[in-house]
Amino acid sequence: MGASLAPAAVTSGVTAASARSAVIDIRGLSLTYEAADGPVYALSNVDLQVAEGEFVSFIGPSGCGKTTLLRVIADLEQPTGGHISVNGVSPSEARLRREYGFIFQAPALYPWRTIERNVELPLEIFGLSKAERRERSQRQLELVNLKGFEKKFPWQLSGGMQQRASIARALSFDPKLLLMDEPFGALDEIVRDHLNEQLLQLWAKTRKTVLFVTHSIPEAVFLSTKIVVMSPRPGRIIDVIDCASLGLQRPLEIRETPEFLKIAHRVREGLRAGHSYDD
């Protein structure tokens, strides 16, 4: 898909990207559910546009609706109001067309399948031939540096390797969109840094549109072309920060640069402002 668009994105960054048609278009979205002690406003009047090839992070405290928003986009939750389109169609239509790959908080690998057969799971469901499945799983496992671990079972791999396998699984059917729900939240700092670097390289290679939910400010700033800061009660967007100024080549050291710290500071300010509402 995005191969022809890649040079443009590399040279002119996000400004050019946002000019293109939106992959995600959300207007006035809300999701309310009834709990025992009254209605819970999980999402309230959310507006958001994401262009093709962007890497958008959602950050905010627990209960701000960032995971809910991702799940609405994935058609795993139903909104109670507003409009949302994914690749120009409704989320359920996009899901039926298998246009996104979802990466969960845990690897969610099936323990009775080898790594290779886990990566091939979606391909089996889509009815690809055995040869095609094998060819694709080999390619994706190579991409996430898991070559040589094809025949291992999930428990034989570390947590970081398992999560990489789950990324390979999401990439195996080449979806246009990657939805990642705190994928590295359970991993330690060092593994997380390493995977962040690998994820950026992967993104540079595949040029997918990525929506990434996280708790971590450095992670969000390091990875994103755009950061969406959210706040709870009601769950809403309070700031959208453009990170194009950091460029696309991002070594880990970039986290010490003034530009990086400036953006991180703005994210922190936004989170603090959001919190003052319920104090």
């Binding site: 795993l76 899901r95 969960f104 969610a108 099936y110 323990p111 009775w112 399948r113 799971l121």
Partner: protein, 324 residues
């Protein structure tokens, strides 16, 4: 089985052997008793010996009065030691001594040709065949019910009460009814007994499989949803493999009670063969040794059946990469 393998492994390559041959030999002799204790063999042996001792004690105590009375009627005077010895050799003791049962088992299993009506193997086969047929029917029914319950929500509420209440009826009450009803429409022999087995053994399979089929967590299920997988695909690729550990646990329970069902099914019919028939005949004629031999036959048979399922489980576990 694992114990043997372990002791063998330890025995064949003792770490001390490398240090020096003479010293290693001495150490090995010392460690024999130690090894017996550190594995499972020692404790198992102790438990078996304790049970045997208790049993012999109970046999002497329970048979004493009978032996003493018989001697008194015959007008003979014997010492306590002679009475004690006689309690172990009665033809119809209240409680047979273990070696009497062992002798009876050897006589009816090894010394009697299998085709003979007195062969315990012959009787065990009759019971086994209906156990296996009933187990197959019950396991199938159990799995089908579980699949229905998991996929059709209303069935959980409408079927479950019946399934549970079916198990509250004592099998001894319902077994004769099944035999008589099926007998009246000309179905006799193996099948009615198998029905009783199936009636007993579908239940743990249903309960275990409902639990197993619903065991995948939310993420594993959401993953299937993101692929727009059909219900059938979710079943075959997620629910069924996830349920297998639960299936094997309940199959082991089911096959043991299937055997009980087959034996109970042989009681009300006055069946001529089968372990149940041996139990019944033994109690008619006061042949306690025969009863106990049949009970041991049933216990051994059940152990073999459960062990076979255990082997199947291990083979499948290996294929599914279960951590040993």
């Amino acid at each position: 089985m694992t114990t043997d393998a372990e002791t063998l492994r330890i025995g064949s390559a003792p770490p001390q052997a490398a240090t020096g041959r003479a010293m290693g030999l001495a150490k090995q002799r010392v460690s024999l008793a130690h090894r017996l204790w550190s594995g499972n063999t020692g404790p198992v042996l102790v438990v078996v010996l304790a049970i045997l001792a208790l049993w012999y004690g109970a046999a002497a105590w329970m048979n004493w009065q009978g032996v003493a009375d018989a001697l008194q009627r015959a007008g003979e005077q014997r010492t306590a030691m002679e009475i004690l010895a006689a309690t172990m050799e009665q033809e119809r003791p209240v409680l047979p001594a273990p070696h009497q049962i062992a002798v009876e088992l050897k006589k009816t299993v090894i010394d009697t040709p299998i085709t003979s009506r007195r062969s315990l193997v012959n009787h065990a086969w009759v019971t086994l065949s209906s156990t296996l047929l009933g187990f197959a029917m019950g396991a199938l029914l159990g799995v089908v019910l579980a699949v229905l319950i998991v996929h059709v929500r209303t069935l959980e509420r409408s079927l479950m009460p019946w399934i549970i209440s079916s198990q509250t009826i004592p099998i001894l009450a319902i077994a004769p009814i099944i035999i008589v009803v099926l007998g009246s429409i000309g179905i006799t022999g193996l099948f009615p007994k198998a029905i009783i087995s199936a009636y007993l053994c579908f239940f743990p399979v249903t309960i275990g499989m409902v639990k197993g089929l619903t065991s995948p967590d939310m993420m594993q299920r959401d993953l299937m949803r993101t692929y727009s997988a059909s219900q059938g695909q979710t079943f075959w690729k997620l629910r069924l493999p996830a349920s297998l550990p639960f299936l094997f646990a309940s199959l082991k329970v089911a096959i043991a009670i299937s055997l009980v069902g087959a034996i109970v099914g042989e009681l009300p019919t006055g069946a001529q063969s089968g372990l149940g028939a041996r139990l019944l005949a033994g109690s008619y004629y006061g042949q306690t040794i025969q009863i106990w031999a049949a009970l041991f036959g049933a216990a051994i048979l059940a152990s073999i059946l459960v062990a076979v399922l255990g082997l199947a489980e291990r083979a499948i576990n290996r294929r599914m990469g279960v951590r040993a």
